[in-house]
Amino acid sequence: MSTSRSTPNARRLRWTPWLFAAPGLLLLTLFMAVPFGMAAVLSFTDQRLLTHAALPTEIVGWDNYLRLWEDDSFWAALGNNLRFVGVVVPLQTALALGLALLVNRKLRGSHLFRTVYFMPVATTMSVVAVIWSLMYSPDQGVINRLIGVLSFGSIGPQDWLRDPALVMPAVMLLSIWQGVGFQMLVFLAGLQAIPVDLYEAATLEGARPWQQFRWITLPLLRNTTIFVVVTTTIYAFQLFTQVQIIASSGAAAPVDSFRTLVMLMVHEGLRNGSIGYASALSVVFFGIVLAISMIQRLIIREEGGAA
């Protein structure tokens, strides 16, 4: 758009983007950037949640970060998050694509099925976690009954929420159950954007369904897949509600076997009152997740749209 710089119209056009952006930028700065900046600054201090007025907050430099490095619980939480992301992202994405493909076929009642698969997404996570924690009960839980029936009694009842090896898989199942419906819709939108003629032409040339899937569907779903993968990764790192509910609904597995980074943030910050330490954890968390999302985007280069 080339306009002379001195006309009133041109001047107005120069201010326009800022006017559009102003409310959003103001709110984002005030309510996200500033608090995060405060957290970053606090990470270099020994700030406590509640403390004596005469005990000042002191700068401790890198102490909090060093403590984090030596904290077993931090590494355990990081491991839990990485394990969770490593399993849930591919599994949930694949499942979502599968469901989208299934729902996309011209079957009677497809939109009914679509609605049902989305219903878990519309349920609040805390409610979902409470219901599943009841279902995971070893002696009275439905899950164990179901597994017993399906395996003809060969697999006995497991203590899902107290066995350190089983607690994360249990959380993964419940998270996938809750989240896959939304990703299914995203994939569905992507699928419906693919022109039908492409498939017709391919069928005419004798291409089988699997080939059509591999050479038409997948490539054209590239941007959608990237979106799904990156957002699922970010949500997966922010895992908190489900594991917090498990920790507070009865005796659980050793806490380090399922505590996530965000849960550690809340425990150290709000419960133990070590705001400085929790802030250091936030900064490190931010760094790790940002790095991973950027790496993901670099590996699968996006097509179209500004990077």
Binding site: A21, M32, V34, P35, F36, T124, V142, M265, F285
Partner: protein, 286 residues
């Protein structure tokens, strides 16, 4: 005529069971008035069947022990306002980023994408300190601090980096012809945005609205920190009444959860048809 395929229907049937059974459990338990019976049923198939003594006792408990109606309308108001304002504010910001070349644009975009990563829990305490210092005009004068109010639950969440990103991706992919034509005709930027771009953005508006609604409806951490008592409390906070003293009344919890979940299901039902329909229509047009 092709043979009707049973396999996909069978698959659908299994999937429907898988996705529904916990919700069935919640729905059915809400109507079981006898707590002991509920617990006894838990390990069997009866957990999913409305058998035994059914009653509205749990719902009566919810009405007696919590101010469900107040919390419900608070939730609707707070979340609705956040979402509506958010649609406006976030789409405007994304539009500026997508359509205008202004200095610093790349930096702003990069910063917004980075903000997506930050979980709320990381900024909860600094935000509390900040919000306690901000002024507000109430009852004819300036007061300090935003606690125990509606605006403290709305304003910090109106602008959302992920929503901006979704809008941005959509606008960038939107063909510019209609906008350029309108510009030739002398329409101002606001006019173009409001009358042309937004109506074309129905799919992304629906997506952002649903996502934000779901995210805000179940938020508990922030209300716990900034709201006390029943006046401004939303549903998740009101539900906490049942979590605390033992023995937990699971029937009451399920009844509350059922009542609290129905609106979100409704919102989704409305929006998903709009969403998918608008995606289909734009695909055909495109």
């Amino acid at each position: 005529m092709k043979r009707p395929q049973i396999a996909p229907y069978l698959l659908h049937a299994l999937l429907v069971l898988f996705f529904l059974f916990p919700l069935l459990f919640m729905g059915v338990s809400a109507f079981k008035g006898d707590e002991m019976q509920l617990l006894r049923d838990m390990g069997t198939l009866r957990a999913f069947l409305p058998v035994g003594e059914l009653s509205l006792q749990n719902f009566r408990d919810v009405a007696d022990r919590t101010r469900f109606d107040l919390a419900f309308w608070n939730s609707v108001g707070v979340v609705g306002l956040t979402v509506l304002l958010g649609l406006l504010v976030n789409s405007m910001l994304a539009y500026a980023l997508a359509r205008f070349r202004f200095p610093g644009r790349r930096w702003v975009l990069g910063a917004i994408v980075a903000l997506i990563v930050i979980p709320f829990e990381a900024i909860a305490v600094p935000l509390l300190l900040l919000v306690n210092q901000l002024p507000w005009f109430s009852e004819g004068q300036w007061v300090q601090g935003w606690l125990d109010s509606y605006h403290v639950q709305v304003l910090p969440f109106v602008a959302n980096a992920f929503s901006v990103y979704l809008f941005y991706q959509f606008f960038v992919a939107l063909p510019k012809d209609l906008e350029e034509a309108a510009q030739m005709d002398g329409a101002g930027p606001w006019r173009i945005y409001w009358s042309i771009v937004l109506p074309l953005s129905k799919p992304v508006i629906a997506t952002v609205a649903v996502l934000q609604f779901l995210a805000r409806w179940g938020d508990l951490l922030w209300p716990v920190m900034v709201v006390r008592g029943d006046e401004h409390a939303t549903l998740p906070l009101a539900m906490q009444t049942f979590f605390g003293q033992f023995p937990r009344q699971w029937g009451d919890v399920m009844a509350f959860a059922l009542l609290a979940t129905l609106p979100t299901l409704l919102v989704f039902l409305v929006f998903q048809r709009w969403f998918v329909r608008s995606v289909i229509s734009s695909a055909i047009k495109g």
